[in-house]
Symmetry: C2
Subunit: 232 residues, 2 copies
């Protein structure tokens, strides 16, 4: 077993066994080196790996701490890497969105309150008025994230966030296509909001499903492997 494995599994075991709980501070690097029998370099590599996965957080001059170990945070650690996926991988993720986003919309429809509906509505006003790509992307993201937050499952929200972060990065080069996409997207948003406002999970879910499917259509179209007819 390599020194790195020793450090990694040693640290993980400290948490798994309950010796270290969320929020706790780890012993200093020097002490951990002695206890685990590895050099400081190997130990630090192990700490970094767990930090990359969202399990540990290190503060310069203070120490390393066990994170709160929320499912949403661990899932969120993927956001650093999904941006590296090639196009084929993005389609797999879009399929996951097609499952999760309608579900989130249905849950949200059952739980949403009037104030949130109002906030989403004014968000759509802004979106429709915006013609700057960056701003539009930001507002669009806020709209969808608000919905999944209302759904009430943080892990679900985080997962949707990770999945969306990838498709969101694309900018449609053709101006005509971009305008068509925006127009259709605006309609889709209104349809989702109608479902939410009427507390109709089926309608909200169906609208969200159509919305993701439309996104997927454009991803396929620009990734070159599109086969079929244009969506209506």
């Amino acid at each position: 077993m390599s020194a790195l494995d020793t450090a990694l599994h040693g640290l993980r075991a400290l948490i798994a066994d309950g010796a270290l709980r969320p929020g706790d501070r780890l012993p200093s690097e020097g002490e951990l080196c002695e206890r685990l029998g590895v050099s400081r370099g190997s130990l630090r590599e192990g700490i970094r790996m767990l930090a990359a996965l969202g399990v540990l957080e290190t503060r310069h001059g203070s120490g390393s701490y066990v994170s709160e170990l929320r499912a949403a945070d661990l899932i969120g650690s993927l956001s650093l890497t999904v941006g590296l996926l090639p196009m084929e991988g993005v389609l797999e993720l879009t399929e996951l969105r097609r499952i999760l986003e309608p579900h989130a919309a249905a849950l949200a429809a059952a739980r949403i309150d009037v104030d949130t509906v109002e906030r989403l509505s004014s968000l759509l006003d802004e979106i429709e008025a915006s013609d700057d790509f960056e701003e539009h992307s930001r507002l669009d993201h806020a709209f969808h994230m608000t919905i999944s937050e209302v759904a009430g499952n943080d892990a679900l929200t985080s997962l949707i966030n990770v999945l969306r972060s990838r498709s969101r990065a694309y900018r449609i080069p053709n101006a005509g296509d971009a305008a068509q996409l925006k127009s259709h997207s605006d309609e889709g948003h209104r349809a989702i909001l109608r479902g939410l406002a009427e507390a109709d999970p089926v309608a909200a879910s169906a609208a969200a499903s159509a919305h993701v499917a439309y996104t997927e259509y454009w991803v396929r179209r620009y990734s070159g492997d599109y086969v079929g007819v244009e969506p209506t």
Copy 2:
């Protein structure tokens, strides 16, 4: 910007910009240190972080390589950490399973062939005959993974695998409860398989949904926050 950030973002940029593609070997650590202007220690910490996230793979004496960057692999990197989640987090994940597994079952029902149905059936024979916890757990896992593989989306399979790996770890201490769980679980498996064999997505999905819900019932029951009546 810290040296570690420099190394991490430098490496990530090499991949994001296309200078390094899946399968490529990275320049040696010495050369990367010069190019990025950081020490070998800091560089290695960056490499380890990307390795933990499934983006890089290092082979002793040979070099570091860009992974295939499959969505399934990146998602699979979570399996090291989900085992550390406290019980509340597990319930969030079970809710995700309640969304994903029925969907996978529905997809599988539309795509499954006779041979696979036969294989699943004999797998269930083994499961029902088994009374060893470890073996039962392994076979149960094989049954569910086969279904999600048939569904045809590797990212979905990997995600379900990660989510299941957590709930699977629990052993029901009470012998009577364990027997009841197994009996009910066996029935659920047969119901799912019937849906698959009849190529009935709705039936398969409903059976999978009930199966996950039953698991969730036991998780809640043993985590102490169960409120409600027993499932039928």
